[in-house]
Symmetry: C2
Subunit: 396 residues, 2 copies
Amino acid sequence: MGKPLEGVKILDLTRVLAGPFSTMLLKELGAEIIKVEMPGKGDDSRGFGPFKNNKSVYFLSINHGKKSISVNMKSEQGKEIILDLVEKCDVVMENFSPGTMERLGLGYDILKKRNPSIIYASTSGFGHTGPFAKRPSYDILAQAMGGVMSITGWPDCPPTRVGMSLGDINAALYTTIGVLGALYRKKITGEGDRVDISMLDCQLSILENALIRYQVDGVSPEPIGNRHPTITPFQAFKAKDRYFVVGVGNEDVWHRFCISLNRDEWTKDPRFEKNMKRTQNLKELTALLDEIFIEKNASEWVSLFESHNVPCSLINKVEDLFNHEQIKSRNMLVNVTDSDIGEVTIAGNALKLDSIPEEKIKKPAPEIGEHNYEILERFLGYTKEQIDSLKENGVL
Amino acid sequence: MGKPLEGVKILDLTRVLAGPFSTMLLKELGAEIIKVEMPGKGDDSRGFGPFKNNKSVYFLSINHGKKSISVNMKSEQGKEIILDLVEKCDVVMENFSPGTMERLGLGYDILKKRNPSIIYASTSGFGHTGPFAKRPSYDILAQAMGGVMSITGWPDCPPTRVGMSLGDINAALYTTIGVLGALYRKKITGEGDRVDISMLDCQLSILENALIRYQVDGVSPEPIGNRHPTITPFQAFKAKDRYFVVGVGNEDVWHRFCISLNRDEWTKDPRFEKNMKRTQNLKELTALLDEIFIEKNASEWVSLFESHNVPCSLINKVEDLFNHEQIKSRNMLVNVTDSDIGEVTIAGNALKLDSIPEEKIKKPAPEIGEHNYEILERFLGYTKEQIDSLKENGVL
């Protein structure tokens, strides 16, 4: 046996980002992903930029290597096809607004009757329970409602969004964890499970020390730019030419940091000798360091600190990532060739397991319904004529 | 059988954040976590604030419900205890700098000889391969090197750190996914696996559309404040009293948005009728909306949009989360009572599975070595006298 999820079949009704990102990870683990799309229209994110040759590169970057079937789930025959596929699959995943699956006649209770050991995983803005359950949501809402926007950015700037879709992607990761937990349990017990992941729940879960800081300090944490709230120095500094970061995560690193700057005396300075003191005297310490760092270029400071084993880095722009020797060495940028788009580079697979061979080249994303024949024949025994007729009738 | 990972035993050598956050999630899924700490010293994060009654609430918030044994892994006897425990466990997890386990005589090859079906999971700054493998890292380095700092914040501000430890927590989620994949595979094949998660790899994986925008546009994406790069309007607006966000994620929402503002004509306005046009004419649209929104308070706009099913939210501060009806309803804030700290509130479990019962109260984090007797007796058959003697000799 090869990859971890070899043989696992996932009926993927998800669209846009949170759901598809999760099924992308499950695909990397070896599962077969059968993406269900509305005939003609497809996943909303096929309409999201950036585009190349009028085709969404965004969609490609999240749906590579999946299979697509086009099914009009609002038609009776389409619904029957979904129910028949549920019988043949291990997992059904969806990220519709809560209530949609029930309205389609495809709620968990109905699916469970057709396949008692089905794992049913939902990803939604607020979860399937509680007063907000049926409200629409998006990444920006999760970031705003869940508190991360209130602690990101600068005191004198407007609220700041995390520059990637943290609300969606974080929920995608939690969904993946939930599905994998349920799959493990199913392998032992034969039982299905229901996974109900909420973007808001997941945002709350990753606030790290913000919840407890509020309880200890009695005031809400505020945005503090690029430093760490309780570890110092652990922030960006301006060198002569550009910014760099340094992370002094424990007292041993602090000693090495001081030695590398010829400031050994700071290790015994009552203002700076321990992390708690350094955090209390942040302004004083930062002012002293600013004076030092402005004298040389960032790469010089990074080299100096590297030679003393002090964690540090330049602040990379996206273009810098494409020539980064560690990123290359880890095969974290891979190519995909799409017949319309041409060749593009996307993120590689960060799930490095001995059981998952590295791929230098990924398969493209499917066209809408590209795998209608393959899936409906293999899973349900449909003939070519049956499939053609369903297509003519607008079911596929 | 109850929770998904009931009966799974994890030997947890991790410290600080990325590793312990992952084992916290595995604990929520039902695994037994045996945290190994250096006698007397313990996990570094026991020294991280915020503190209450001189004890780290930070440590508690990430290590609740785990078991702790104190083992000096640098001693021969301590090393033997670890190897004996490896034989009894399903998974070993560590987030030392690569090379440390080998130096301790506890490298993967040695552990695998003692337990061929062991799953060995590492979380590190750069992974265990490649030219950067042995460099030290921290969250701020992952954020800086992996590109997210370069796309978060405002054009005229210094580089901005995401306000929570995204580098660590993201890697923790990927680690959890890797371990779960390996556990599933082990259940089928009986084989162990090696999981090698890099904070930098994981950062690259969640950049979402930044990598492809660079390839299509030819320039690195820059920080853009609180809007979405390709979806409009999808951003924060200033109302009379405070900021709120609105997310117009597709054309149906755009129609409802226009109707709710009595601007039906915008749905046919060539500048705004489609998302791509709205994104091109962002400044013009934002200026028009700013004029409208400044007239009323944020809560009035949120009410109006809610009644038209347009996704929107106030931007919550941390204090707002404690009284949020959806958060309460989903049991996402739970209490822990520690004998020194007293009662504190921490994030609940976002992994909502039917097979995981909700807990209103969580167990506290362990003291260093609190479970020495329980674990060493139950797993290895040690007597109280043996354990006491090991303690006297500084092994425990």
